[in-house]
C-alpha cells in the first residue's frame, strides 16, 4: 500500500510539472490552432527570472525578505514570459494567422534566437530589455482616453518607448554594477537554491515527501484553479471560450478577436513562465532547459485534446503516473514473482529514456481508437 502511495505521489509530481507547462500550450492551441515551439524557451525565461530574482534578493536591502523570493518570482516570471509572448503575438504570430505550419516554423526561429540570446547577452541587460518591453507595451495603455484619441497619440507612444528604452538601460546598468554574477554573459548552467523553508522533507501518512515537489504541486494546483476560474467566471474568459468554439461567429457578435488572441497568448506564455519557476526548483537552469519538457507537453496536448482543460489535466497526470510506473519498473516491486519474460520486458523499459519510448507507443495506440484525444470537442464539421 505504501509502495503504491509512493508511486502515485511520484507520478503526480512528474505530472504536475507537465501540467503547468502544458496548460498554456493547450489554451493557445485550443484558441488559435497554433503550436508554439518557443513555449519551452518561454519556460526557460521563467526559470532565468527565478535565478535573477534570487540574486537580487540577496542584495543587502532585500536580504530580510530573502525567504519569500520564490513567491515573488512566480509573479515576475508570469509577467516576463507573458510580455515576451505578447510581443511575439503582436509581431509574428498575428501575421501568420490561418497557417499553423508556418507559425510552427516561425516560433522555432524565435526559440533559437531566445536560446542564443541568454547565451550571449549578460542577464543584467536582458533584464533591462524585458523591463523596457514591459514599460513600452503598457505605458501607452495607461494614458487618459483624451490623449489616446488625439491625432498626436503616435508621438506619445514614441516618446513612451524612448522612456522605456532609457529606463531599461538604466536598470540593466544598475543591476550589472551591483550583482557581479549577472554582469557577464555565460552559456553555463546556473543553479537556483530553494529558500530554507522549502528544503527538507515532509512526512504525510508515514511517507516522506520532498518539500520542493510539494511546492510544485501547490503551484500547479493554484494555476489550474486560477485559470479555470478565469475562463469560466470572468467576462474575458467567456469571450475566450466563445472564440475557441467559433471564431467567425464571435467576431460577428462584436467580440474583438484580436484582443482575445493577445490576452490568451499572454496568459499562455505567462503560464510557461510559472512552469519555468517550477522547473528551476528541480534542477539546474540552462539555455536548453525548455527542450527537456517541451515534447512531453506536446504529448499532453495531443492526448488531452483541445478546448477542454480537463483533458489536459487527465493527460498530464496519466503520462506522469505511467512514466513513473514504467521508468522505475514499479510493477516489478508490486508483483515480485511475475513470469520471467514479462519481468525482462519491464526491466528493459525501466529507464527514463526507455519509458518515453513506451509511453509514446502507448499514445500512438490510444490515438488509433480516439484520434482527437481524451475529451474531443463536439460538433459536426469537415475538419480542415
Amino acid at each position: 500500500m505504501e509502495l503504491l502511495f509512493d508511486s502515485l505521489f511520484n507520478g503526480v509530481a512528474i505530472g504536475s510539472v507537465l501540467l503547468v507547462a502544458a496548460l498554456g500550450l493547450a489554451i493557445v492551441f485550443g484558441l488559435m490552432g497554433v503550436i508554439n515551439l518557443a513555449h519551452g524557451e518561454l519556460m526557460m525565461l521563467g526559470a532565468y527570472t527565478t535565478y535573477v530574482t534570487q540574486l537580487i534578493f540577496k542584495l543587502p536591502i532585500l536580504k530580510p525578505f530573502y525567504n519569500s523570493y520564490i513567491i515573488v518570482s512566480i509573479f515576475l516570471a508570469f509577467i516576463v514570459s507573458g510580455v515576451v509572448g505578447i510581443l511575439l503575438e503582436k509581431t509574428i504570430i498575428r501575421k501568420l494567422y490561418g497557417s499553423p505550419l508556418e507559425t510552427l516554423l516561425a516560433t522555432w526561429g524565435v526559440s533559437l534566437i531566445l536560446q542564443q540570446f541568454v547565451r550571449s547577452v549578460p542577464l543584467a541587460y536582458g533584464t533591462g530589455l524585458v523591463i523596457s518591453l514591459i514599460i513600452g507595451l503598457f505605458l501607452p495603455t495607461t494614458f487618459p482616453q483624451k490623449i489616446k484619441e488625439s491625432i498626436n497619440f503616435k508621438y506619445f507612444k514614441f516618446s513612451s518607448w524612448i522612456f522605456a528604452a532609457l529606463s531599461g538601460v538604466l536598470t540593466g546598468g544598475l543591476i550589472s554594477s551591483t550583482v557581479s554574477k549577472l554582469s557577464r554573459a555565460s552559456a553555463r548552467n546556473v543553479d537556483v537554491t530553494a529558500p530554507s523553508w522549502m528544503r527538507g522533507q515532509v512526512e504525510i501518512l508515514g511517507t516522506a515527501f520532498p518539500k520542493t515537489r510539494l511546492m510544485i504541486i501547490i503551484i500547479t494546483l493554484i494555476s489550474v484553479i486560477a485559470i479555470t476560474l478565469f475562463l469560466n467566471q470572468s467576462a474575458w474568459g467567456m469571450r475566450i471560450r466563445a472564440v475557441t468554439q467559433n471564431r467567425q461567429m464571435s467576431d460577428c457578435l462584436g467580440i474583438s478577436t484580436e484582443k482575445v488572441d493577445i490576452i490568451t497568448f499572454g496568459i499562455g506564455s505567462g503560464l510557461a513562465g510559472v512552469a519555468g519557476v517550477a522547473v528551476s526548483l528541480l534542477g539546474s537552469v540552462g539555455p536548453n532547459v525548455g527542450g527537456n519538457y517541451i515534447v512531453g507537453c506536446f504529448m499532453v496536448v495531443v492526448l488531452g485534446g483541445v478546448g477542454n482543460l480537463l483533458g489536459t489535466v487527465f493527460a498530464s497526470f496519466g503520462i506522469g503516473i505511467m512514466t513513473d510506473l514504467i521508468g522505475a519498473g514499479r510493477l516489478l516491486s508490486i508483483w515480485p514473482d511475475m513470469p520471467l519474460p514479462l519481468s525482462n520486458t519491464i526491466n528493459f523499459f525501466a529507464t527514463t529514456s526507455m519509458a518515453r519510448v513506451m509511453i509514446f507507443a502507448l499514445i500512438v495506440i490510444f490515438l488509433q481508437f480516439k484520434p482527437t484525444g481524451l475529451f474531443p470537442q463536439k460538433g459536426r464539421m469537415v475538419e480542415n
Binding site: 533559437l112 496536448v301 526507455m354 519510448v357 509514446f360 507507443a361 488509433q368
Partner: protein, 376 residues
C-alpha cells in the same frame, strides 16, 4: 516575364548539362580535400531535402522527424562497413561490442554481412518504417500541426532508443566508418572520398529526376490536391491515406539514401542525427530554396549548409541568430522561397515598385501569354 514560362532552347539545356557534368568530374581537382568533402556532404543532404519537399512542398505534410529515416540509412551503411572490416577483432564482430561484453552479433545485424542486402536495406528499411508510422497516423486523419508534433515526438523516441542501447548499436557513441574497409580500400581515404563524391552527385541528379517523375502526372496532381483541399480529394473518391503513406515512405527512402551517403562522408553515424534541431533544419533548407520547386530544395540544402559552415567558422555565436532570423523571415516575407519568388511574380513586382516595368491592369497571366505569342 517569369522564369518558369521561358522555354529554353534544346542547345542551351544540353550545354548546361555538359557544363554541370564537367564541373562534377573536375570538382575533386578544383577544390581542396576539406571543401570537397563538405560539398559532398551537403549534396547528400540535398537528397533528404528533396524528400522533405515532396511531402511538405507538394503534399502539405510538415514532418519534423525526417532525421529518423536519415539516421536509419546511416546506421545500415555504417553497420555493414563495421561488420565487413571486423575480421581482426575477437569473435569476428565489430570492436565496440567487446566493450559491453557482447560475444555474438545481435540477430538483426546478421543479414548485414551481405552487401546486396545492405544496398537494399539502406533505402527500404527507412521507407518501411516511414510507411508504418505514416499509415498509423494518416489512418486516423491526424494532420496539420498534430502530424508535425507526432513526427517530432517519434523522432525523440527513436533518439532515446538509439542513445540508450549500447549493446546493440554502441549507444551515444555511434558507429565510426573512417577506418573501415570497403572493397579493400579505407573508407576515410582521399581516393575513396572522391568516389563517394561522384556517387553522391550522380544520386542527387537521379533523385531529382525521380522526384520530378513522382510529382508529374496524376499522382502528383493528387498530392497537390491533398495539400490544397484534402476533404475535397476524399469526396471525389480518392483515398488520401494511401497517397500520403506512399509519398511519406518515398521521402523516408530518400532520407535513408541521404543518411548513408552523409555517414560515409562524415565518418560517423550517431544518435545526433536524430536530434530535434537537425530535422527542423531540413525544413528550412526547403523553405528558403522554395517549397514546391524541387531544384529549390537541392540548392537550399547546399547553400544554407555552406553558409552555415562559413558563418560558424568566422563568428560561431551568430549562426543561431541568423538561423532563427531565417526561419522567421522566410515564413513571413518570403513564403515561396527564393526560387519560388524568382519563378513567380517576384521580380516583376520588384521592378514595378521601382517603376521600371509597366503595371499590368488585367489578369496577369493572360497579358503575359498574349505578349509572348505576339513576339513569336
Amino acid at each position: 516575364m517569369s522564369l518558369s514560362k521561358i522555354k529554353f532552347d534544346k542547345k542551351i539545356v544540353l550545354s548546361f548539362w555538359i557544363i554541370l557534368i564537367a564541373l562534377i568530374i573536375a570538382a575533386p581537382t578544383l577544390l581542396p580535400v576539406f571543401r570537397l568533402n563538405l560539398l559532398g556532404r551537403y549534396l547528400s543532404l540535398s537528397i533528404v531535402a528533396l524528400g522533405v519537399d515532396l511531402i511538405w512542398g507538394y503534399t502539405g505534410l510538415l514532418s519534423l522527424g525526417q532525421g529518423i529515416f536519415f539516421a536509419l540509412g546511416g546506421y545500415c551503411a555504417a553497420m555493414y562497413l563495421q561488420i565487413t572490416s571486423s575480421s581482426e577483432f575477437p569473435n569476428n564482430i565489430p570492436e565496440f561490442f567487446a566493450l559491453y561484453g557482447v560475444e555474438k552479433l545481435p540477430f538483426f545485424w546478421e543479414p548485414f554481412r551481405s552487401p546486396i542486402f545492405t544496398f537494399f536495406a539502406i533505402w527500404i528499411i527507412p521507407a518501411l518504417v516511414a510507411g508504418l508510422i505514416g499509415f498509423l497516423v494518416f489512418r486516423n486523419r491526424i494532420k496539420g500541426v498534430y502530424f508535425s508534433i507526432l513526427t517530432q515526438a517519434s523522432l525523440l523516441v527513436f533518439f532515446n532508443f538509439f542513445n540508450g542501447q549500447q549493446k546493440l548499436i554502441n549507444g551515444t557513441n555511434g558507429l565510426k566508418t573512417d577506418v573501415t574497409q570497403l572493397f579493400g580500400q579505407m573508407v576515410g581515404s582521399a581516393s575513396m572520398q572522391r568516389i563517394f563524391f561522384w556517387i553522391t552527385a550522380i544520386l542527387v541528379i537521379t533523385a531529382w529526376f525521380f522526384a520530378k517523375w513522382v510529382v508529374k502526372g496524376r499522382f502528383g496532381n493528387i498530392l497537390i490536391g491533398i495539400r490544397d483541399d484534402e476533404p475535397r480529394v476524399r469526396f471525389t473518391g480518392y483515398n488520401p491515406v494511401i497517397f500520403k503513406t506512399i509519398i511519406f515512405s518515398i521521402a523516408g527512402g530518400l532520407a535513408g539514401i541521404s543518411g548513408a551517403l552523409y555517414t560515409v562522408q562524415s565518418g560517423i553515424v550517431s544518435p545526433q542525427f536524430m536530434t530535434v534541431p537537425f530535422s527542423i533544419e531540413m525544413v528550412i533548407w526547403v523553405a528558403v530554396g522554395g517549397r514546391g520547386t524541387l531544384l529549390g530544395a537541392i540548392l537550399g540544402a547546399v547553400f544554407i549548409n555552406y553558409a552555415k559552415s562559413l558563418v560558424s567558422e568566422a563568428l560561431p555565436a551568430s549562426w543561431m541568430f541568423i538561423q532563427g532570423g531565417l526561419f522567421i523571415l522566410v515564413v513571413t516575407a518570403l513564403p515561396e522561397g527564393v526560387l519560388g519568388w524568382v519563378q513567380g511574380d517576384g521580380p516583376r513586382n520588384l521592378l514595378q515598385r521601382f517603376g521600371l516595368k509597366r503595371k499590368i491592369e488585367t489578369y496577369p497571366s493572360l497579358e503575359v501569354n498574349n505578349k509572348e505569342e505576339n513576339n513569336e
